[in-house]
């Protein structure tokens, strides 16, 4: 009996073992989503190769976080008993990685394309501004600070262009933005300055017409000095007779306000004295009646409203003289011609010849159009 029981027990245990082994062998073991994770990894790698980490940062980092989450979930499941593992979350994160990675690739390609077009347009526009600044303001006395900003803006533009050429669009974008800020503001400032300067053009036009009319009616010489173009033009019988290049004072933009401001005055004057070589240190000179009545009245008004200090003096001794041809604006307020031109002019004008000094004989619109 005992032997029979032992036999039964042995068979039972064996059956149990075989059943357990059968269950172990045939029970479906959860398989990790290996290929899904591999595709997710490939998608992420492809996103990086497409510079999504730079040009579609948020989408790329979302994808990366999902991939890390997939890997962590996988590690967590691997720590569980083999039959208790559940890889659903791994699969979910792998899918999300793929979706975000491909979205980031699309976004990156689109952003790069847009940025490239945008940067190319900005580069052209800013190069045009640099060209315009150079064309319009090369000989215009801008503040040193503005010159510095223009120069720095130009340099940043150069750096942006180099970054653009090597395909570093983010760096190009940053440099071009900085450049745009400096150049656009400087151009605007310079343009406003120029517009302000030309505000008096209607007045200048009246003076110009009047001076030419006087020359016409008296059949005599009249002089017009165009500060903007640095020209001294002689009219005879109302017609242009001669034209000379002139040099002005360092601070030639705007009217003269006070002694020592190194500005060339604007107004209608006359020659009051002629100095030969032995009477002037500037070869030959034609003294003008600056300040005239209007200049004096303007000066007193400025003092009265406090725009000028009470101790300010109006200045004088504004001449057309020789020793020009230096190529720079160097006088203290006078108009300088070369000695040869001075000889010519000196011979044809006399005391009383009208001399009109204007900011420009052309309007700003005409100048810009030309």
């Amino acid at each position: 009996m005992g032997k029979y029981r032992k036999h039964i027990l042995f068979i039972s245990l064996l059956t149990l073992l075989i059943t357990f082994a059968g269950v172990l062998i045939f029970y479906p073991v959860p398989t990790p989503p290996e290929s899904a994770v591999r595709y997710a990894r490939m998608a992420l790698s492809s996103a990086r190769k497409n510079n999504a980490d730079l040009y579609a940062e948020n989408l790329y980092y979302d994808a990366k976080i999902y991939y890390d989450s997939a890997m962590k979930a996988w590690q967590r499941e691997n720590m569980k008993f083999i039959y208790r593992r559940n890889f659903d979350s791994v699969l979910k994160y792998a899918d999300l990685t793929m979706k975000k990675a491909y979205l980031s690739i699309q976004a990156s390609q689109s952003n790069i394309s847009d940025l490239r077009i945008n940067l190319s347009q900005k580069l052209s526009a800013l190069k045009e501004i640099v060209h315009e600044i150079s064309r319009r303001f090369e000989d215009y006395p801008l503040d040193a600070e503005i010159r510095d900003r223009i120069s720095k803006g130009g340099f940043l533009l150069e750096e942006g262009a180099i970054a653009y050429r090597i395909g570093d669009y983010l760096k190009a974008d940053s440099k071009i933005r900085e450049s745009e800020h400096l150049l656009a503001s400087s151009y605007e400032y310079a343009h406003t300055h120029l517009r302000n300067y030309f505000r008096l053009y209607p007045q200048w036009k009246i003076w110009i017409d009047s001076t030419i009319t006087v020359s016409d009616s008296t059949n005599d010489y009249s002089i017009i000095i165009d500060k903007y173009s640095r020209k001294l033009i002689v009219y005879n019988d109302g017609k242009k007779f001669r034209e000379y290049s002139a040099e002005l004072s360092q601070n030639w933009v705007g009217d003269k306000r006070v002694r020592g401001d190194k500005a060339t005055p604007e107004g209608m004057y006359k020659i009051t004295r002629k100095f030969r070589s032995d009477s002037t240190k500037y070869y030959k000179a034609l003294l003008l009646n600056y300040p005239n009545e209007e200049d004096s009245a303007n000066f007193e008004r400025a003092k009265a409203r406090g725009a000028l200090p009470q101790s300010a003096k109006i200045g004088g001794m504004i001449e057309i003289h020789g020793h020009g041809g230096k190529g720079i604006d160097w006088t203290e307020g006078c108009i300088a011609l070369t000695n040869n031109d001075m000889d010519n002019l000196f011979n044809i004008v006399k005391v009383g010849t009208p001399v009109t000094i204007v900011g420009s004989m052309q309007s700003l619109r005409q100048i810009l159009r030309n």
Binding site: S45, N78, F137, E138, Y140, A163, R230, K326
Partner: protein, 198 residues
């Protein structure tokens, strides 16, 4: 008796072999990660970005392969070990290549910086000869402002170079070189037009 002993030893050897194959090669993983970190510290991501990205991809693939094996009843890390050995060698190679590339960039930046310095010096000598042509002082002031900007940029590039940021120094120096050369050309054109010897 002899056969029983041999059978026992063989069983032990198989068990030992299986257990050694089944262990995560943590030491190799750590070594490879350290090599990749060293490559990054050497700025492989800056100087050899494609190679560095490939390293990261390989390591990600290895991490996944480790998890695949960890999930199995009978773990085999032989292939993973081979992959780790290959990636470790690649990481070391990338680190070595970075050093070479860095040296190349350093040399180029140094050459450009020295080149600019001579152009800058020449510009400084030439600018005083400018005829102060009809545009006058404003043009010269503009050129001087540009020269000052180039000086500033060269100093900035030199600072980057001294700090070891050779790639940034190179890019800055290239821009400075273009500007300095443009200024040089502009000055020489004016001098040639004015028939002034330089």
């Amino acid at each position: 008796m002899k056969n029983k002993v041999l059978f026992g030893l063989a069983t032990l050897a198989i068990v030992a072999m299986l257990s050694s194959c089944g262990k995560v090669p943590q030491a190799e993983i750590d070594a490879t990660n350290a090599a990749i970190a060293a490559a990054q510290a050497a700025e492989a991501n800056v100087y050899l970005p494609a190679e560095f990205t490939a390293l990261q991809d390989s390591m990600n693939a290895i991490t996944a392969a480790v998890e695949v094996q960890k999930g199995k009843l009978f773990k085999k890390f032989g292939t993973v070990k081979e992959q780790l050995a290959t990636t470790l060698a690649q990481a070391n190679q990338v680190a070595a290549n970075v050093a070479a590339k860095k040296e190349e960039v350093k040399k180029e930046a140094d050459t450009i910086l020295n080149g600019i310095k001579s152009v800058v010096a020449e510009n400084a000598k030439l600018v005083v000869k400018l005829p102060r042509g009809k545009e006058g002082a404003a043009v010269i002031e503009a050129i001087k402002a540009d020269m000052a900007t180039v000086d500033g940029s060269v100093a900035e590039a030199q600072g980057m170079f001294d700090k070891g940021a050779f790639m940034d120094a190179l890019n800055k120096a290239k821009a400075a070189q273009e500007k300095a050369t443009a200024i040089n050309t502009e000055i020489k054109e004016v001098l040639t037009k004015a028939r002034i010897r330089f």
